[in-house]
């Protein structure tokens, strides 16, 4: 594999990992606060649809982004209502949200655009455009570093850079702010946070809402960044891969970057070489597609280090009377 191909694959990996990274960080906030979220997929899908619709109607990718966030937030509120206020089963609520999004997006899409659940193609300002970083053109001819800067680092949409900035930001919020300390505490031992006079309910809602915002950006990136419009089921299991990455990363922000990069790279390689010829054996594309899930099972089995979820995860908090 030559240098140019490597750059192209890495470039494609960055694009493909962006929605995974955003969704993974979204899940990180929610699960660190003790609310399991298998509805990442649904929230992303809903956001992809609302962002594409609004971007098409207004011709503005930015308004689309806002609509995407609103779409994902509405489902996040529903999840909060079910799993925080009414102390329902968080897993069942997540399953319901995935179905709700899968159904509603097609139903509304067909009603509004009558294109079988798709939105019309987005053009011009309705999509997020690649940004050329300063000096990218001038430095292109510098050997090795030039192409890396001009093709790999420069030339992505703003949402890609936002996703990458979210990693240090998330780390800082979780480990260097009072909010982050409380957020982590409420996922481990909500009673202690309650005893300290901090509202468990409010903290958990906060985390679930942040999760909604990040899923919203992820969905908007799918529909207005990577592709030009919404197609039905366009998230195609990315929410679950993000969930897998979250376990892989053991609920830590920097590790989430690594895990989603790995999964993005797998997808990029699978796209480029449908049947990967390793000389001795040919790896079928289906195996490459299933690899993130297989790796997650291996991690879960504890063969490669232990993934311990936040202790109070999945448990509704009942204040003692």
């Amino acid at each position: 594999m030559d240098f140019g191909t490597t750059i192209q694959i890495l470039d494609s990996a960055l694009r493909l990992m962006t929605p995974l990274l955003l969704a993974c960080l979204a899940g990180l906030y929610s699960e660190r606060a003790g609310v399991f979220d298998i509805g990442l997929e649904g929230k992303m899908l809903m956001a992809a649809f609302t962002s594409a619709s609004v971007a098409y109607a207004t011709g503005s990718a930015w308004l689309g982004l806002l609509a995407g966030i609103a779409g994902a937030l509405s489902l996040a509120v529903l999840h909060g209502l079910a799993s925080i206020s009414f102390r329902g089963n968080q897993l069942i609520s997540g399953v319901a949200i995935n179905f709700l999004a899968a159904g509603l997006t097609v139903l509304l899409g067909q009603k509004i655009f009558a294109l079988g659940g798709r939105t019309p193609s987005l053009e011009g300002a309705a999509r997020f455009r690649p940004i050329t970083l300063p000096l990218a053109q001038e430095l292109r001819d510098v050997p090795i570093l030039g192409p890396i800067y001009a093709e790999l680092i420069s030339g992505h949409t703003i949402l890609v850079y936002v996703a990458f900035l979210m990693v240090p930001l998330t780390w800082w919020v979780l480990y260097r702010t009072r909010f982050g300390l409380r957020l982590r505490a409420v996922g481990e031992n909500p009673a202690s946070v309650d005893t300290a006079g901090v509202s468990v309910t409010r903290l958990r809602y906060g985390a679930v809402m942040i999760c909604g915002v990040l899923c919203g950006i992820a969905g908007a990136y799918l529909a207005t960044g990577i592709s030009a419009g919404f197609v039905k089921e366009m998230t195609a299991g990315r929410g679950f891969i993000a969930l897998a990455a979250l376990i892989f990363a053991k609920w830590r922000p920097w590790a989430a970057l690594g895990a989603t990069f790995l999964f993005g790279l797998l997808e990029a390689v699978a796209n480029r070489f449908p049947n990967l010829d390793l000389g001795v054996v040919t790896v079928p594309s289906m195996f490459m597609n299933a690899l993130p899930y297989i790796l997650t099972v291996i991690i879960l089995a504890g063969f490669v280090g232990r993934a311990t979820p936040p202790r109070a995860g999945g448990e509704p908090y009942v204040k003692e009377r």
């Binding site: 089963n89 609520s93 399953v95 659940g117 195996f287 299933a290 997650t296």
Partner: protein, 364 residues
């Protein structure tokens, strides 16, 4: 917490949740500019007013009974099996291997063999998540989700590379030999001299599903293993003190659950398509979750819920055919049923409990 009367707990709460789910579904239909009453009419006529419609309704219901029972058995052991989709898909592989292995002389011989193949493959697909949960403490929900995707990829590989007949482009197995074709309900009716349900896929598997309901009921409420499963599901420490092995119960409950989900493939792969195609399960594994929740994890409830979802599925198909409402309306209704009867259960229960408590105080 004050107790409600049993009927309120078992009937009133789910009924109110269900009414809420359907009321919101009606609002959704209104929101997309269609009439809920008209939609209901199309669905009832398409699913229940002809023997043809009933044939499809019963066919779908058969699928949902199996996946619903699968979710139920795991649920009683305190396990949430979201892997029905993958287990049913692998069950299909088991059926296909059995059906294509021998030149079966008669369906009566092929059927039990195919049932064993389906149950075995479904159970095997549930075994690894079960073992991981029991031995390594990895969360069964996450592992079964992962196994759904792995099953899809595995099946894709097997169909494209191993089972596809030479010269065919479809990722599908060869058609099963005639000796494996299961009698349709319409053919059975014809034997009795009744002209019923021509060209509909409902087949003899429906009766196997009914038998499965009875057997699961016997298993859970009338057997030693069922007692252990329920005890373990209610309280793991208590079960431990009673000498019940968590590993054994987790693995056994998941094996039974996976086998039930796998058995669904007898209906859709052997009874209907008569060959194995990609994505043969069509989401029935997930509908099993809604069916089990709605049926309050009791076989009788599951039978009724499966019939209702069979009706919704067939009616939804008719909607897509005769109106501009897409099939996905069913997915929305399914989501709302899961949401209200599963996750938002307390929204109905809490005010009801308060109501009953107030009444009791007044009475006392």
């Amino acid at each position: 917490m004050e107790r409600m009367p049993k009927w309120a707990d078992l009937v009133l709460t789910p009924l109110l949740s269900l009414i809420l789910a359907f009321a919101i579904s009606a609002l959704v239909i209104l929101a997309i500019g269609e009439s809920p009453a008209q939609a209901m009419k199309v669905m009832v006529e398409g699913a229940l007013m002809s023997s043809y419609g009933w044939g499809f309704t019963l066919y779908y219901a058969t699928n949902f009974i199996f996946t619903g029972l699968a979710v139920m058995v795991a649920y009683h052991a305190g396990l949430f099996n979201i892997g029905g989709e993958g287990q049913a898909a692998m069950g299909g592989l088991g059926v296909a291997l059995v059906a294509l292995a021998l030149p079966w002389p008669h369906w009566a011989l092929a059927l039990p063999a195919a049932m064993i193949g389906a149950a075995l493959f479904g159970a095997l697909w549930a075994l690894i998540p079960a073992w991981l949960q029991a031995r390594r403490g990895s969360h069964i929900v996450i592992t079964t989700i992962m196994f759904n995707f792995i099953a899809a990829a595995t099946l894709n590989y097997v169909l494209v590379n191993l089972l596809r007949p030479v010269g065919s482009m479809d990722p599908a197995s060869a058609s099963f030999p005639p000796g494996t074709h299961l009698p349709k309900l319409s053919e059975l009716a014809l034997l009795l001299g009744i002209d019923w349900g021509r060209n509909s896929p409902a087949n003899i598997t429906f009766f196997i599903a009914l038998a499965a309901c009875v057997l699961v009921w016997l298993l859970i409420w009338r057997s030693r293993l069922g007692y252990e499963i329920r005890a373990f599901g209610k309280s793991e420490p208590a079960a431990l003190y009673a000498g019940i092995s968590p590993v054994r119960i987790t693995v056994l409950a998941m094996l039974i659950s996976g086998a039930l989900a796998g058995l669904m493939a007898v209906n859709n792969v052997m009874g209907e398509a008569e060959r194995l195609v990609l994505n043969a399960v069509e989401g029935a594994g997930f509908i099993g979750i809604a069916v089990a929740l709605m049926g309050r994890n009791h076989p009788l409830g599951i039978l009724m819920a499966a019939l209702l979802f069979g009706f919704l599925y067939q009616g939804g198909g008719e909607l897509a055919l005769w109106t501009t409402i897409p099939r996905e309306l069913i997915v929305v209704i399914q989501a709302l049923v899961i949401l209200f009867t599963g996750a938002l259960d307390n929204m109905v229960r809490m005010p009801l409990e308060r109501l009953f408590a107030a009444r009791r105080r007044k009475g006392a």
